[in-house]
């Protein structure tokens, strides 16, 4: 779900950069050098994970995984997503530097918000954790699609139809993300519970 360069209007681009700078700044402030390496390598794992194409009916879509990243990293998901998107710009030229701010906020904002909203559920056991993880995956994509759509719609009346199409197209992806996030969190809770302890408590 990338917005390409050249679509958004000046104020939306500037707003995206400002919000992302604040998010990255806050995320980095809480992140000390002991955990930096872990965040970097997990960010790489997410970059790779988001290249996974899963079949959904007749088509396939790639996973976004911002909800899972938020569930594991908490606020540090913000800089992690920023880094991954910058790398996509450098390696594949998906979006340039100007639209990067908006794209980072669209993806990372929902990731961190969901981590705070459903973090307490993630720390419980059994069904509550599965529900929390599903919500993380589902709502992170839903919010990301809505933010992307808002950024488009705010940039011009002509983009409103595109914005609606983006939200509708992401409904099946939300369900798959929710399911995959729930199963992945269940797996991690069994195999490496310490990976989940950085989810925010409040």
């Amino acid at each position: 779900m990338h917005i390409s360069e050249g679509v958004l209007s000046g104020p939306v681009l500037a707003g995206g950069w400002a919000l992302s700078a604040v998010g990255v700044g806050l995320g980095l402030k809480r992140l000390d050098y002991d955990r930096l390496m872990t965040v970097a390598i997990l960010s790489a794992a997410f970059f790779v994970g988001s290249l996974i194409h899963v079949p959904i009916g007749p088509v396939s879509a790639h996973l976004i995984l911002n909800g899972l990243l938020g569930a594991i990293l908490g606020p540090a998901a913000f800089p992690a997503i920023a880094v991954a998107l910058l790398l996509q710009a450098v390696l594949f030229q998906y979006g340039g530097l100007i639209v990067l701010g908006a794209n980072v906020f669209d993806m990372a904002g929902p990731a961190v918000a969901c981590a705070f909203a459903f973090g307490p559920l993630l720390r419980r056991a059994g069904k509550a954790r599965a529900v929390g993880a599903f919500c993380c995956g589902f709502f992170a994509v839903l919010l990301a699609a809505l933010l992307t759509a808002c950024a488009l719609a705010l940039s011009g009346e002509g983009f409103v139809a595109t914005a609606k199409a983006i939200v509708v197209a992401h409904v099946p992806i939300m369900l798959v993300e929710g399911a995959v996030t729930a199963m992945a969190v269940g797996f991690l809770a069994k195999v490496r519970p310490e990976l989940l302890v950085h989810a925010p408590t409040r």
Binding site: E5, G6, V48, Q93
Partner: protein
């Protein structure tokens, strides 16, 4: 899949200082992305194409990436011309294509491609480690550059690990389809990649501490901006200013 296909080369662009290229990329992208008329982004597009030629990239890579960028643009052409209110040009089964819609779609296409060629020639030609240091030199927080450099460093390792797991799954008869089993398998694959990435990060960090890591990396090669770098940066700044000024003139001319 994740190689820096453009970062190594012996072209005049590759010889420029990484900080200058990063700054020039930002300077040129800005007026192209903000423009409201066609002239400024067209000018930047021409300059971007020229810079891309100068950087002598492999043609296949350029074509593939240009196509990828324009897929999203094509998606916009499906919706925007008929969704923008304005003077109708063409009506088809109740859809009205407007002049304003066509103009907006065309402007977006030119802008997207203008920024794309700037990024392709100026940003993609910088190897990731040098880009990390260039960002720090230009005031980006050191922790962010650290994350960037190490995410890049481990991308290939993790991708290889994931590839191995996929091969193992396939050898055991895994065929993706739309069912719960597929999603469970992907979730397990993904979680396994994360577990291994986490374990690896612990080992790497311990190894770094053992070698005396205390938050920064001393680097052997220094940035050196000679007069060609300065001249290049000035020229690019001039071009960006011209584009911005031209767009501003055309905007106030219409008002």
């Amino acid at each position: 899949m994740i190689d820096e296909l453009l970062a190594r080369g012996a072209s005049p662009i590759h010889a420029l200082d990484a900080r200058c290229r990063l700054t020039a990329c930002l300077l040129l992208s800005l007026p192209a992305a903000m423009a409201q008329g066609l002239a400024a982004p067209l000018g930047i597009l021409g300059l971007g194409l020229l810079l891309t030629l100068l950087s002598r990239p492999p043609l296949g890579v350029v074509l593939r990436r240009t196509a990828a960028v324009n897929v999203f643009v094509a998606f916009l052409w499906l919706f925007v011309p008929a969704a923008t209110p304005g003077e109708p040009v063409w009506t088809f089964h109740g859809l009205t294509v407007t002049r304003e819609g066509l103009d907006l779609a065309l402007l977006t296409t030119v802008k997207a491609n203008a920024v794309f060629f700037c990024v392709l020639s100026l940003l993609a030609t910088i190897p990731a480690p040098a880009l990390g240091r260039a960002m720090t030199a230009l005031g980006v927080p050191a922790k962010f550059s650290f994350l960037f450099v190490f995410t890049y460093r481990y991308l290939h390792v993790i991708a290889e690990e994931y590839g191995r797991l996929v091969v193992a799954a396939r050898l055991r008869g895994f065929a993706p389809a739309t069912n719960a089993r597929t999603y469970r398998t992907y979730a397990a694959l993904l979680a396994m990649v994360l577990v291994r990435a986490y374990d690896r990060s612990q080992r790497v960090y311990q190894a770094m501490l053992l070698r005396g890591f205390h938050g920064r990396f001393p680097s052997l090669d220094r940035f050196r901006a000679g007069w060609p770098d300065k001249v290049f940066l000035c020229l690019m700044a001039l071009a960006a200013a011209l584009a911005a000024y031209g767009d501003w003139i055309s905007r106030s001319g219409h008002a």
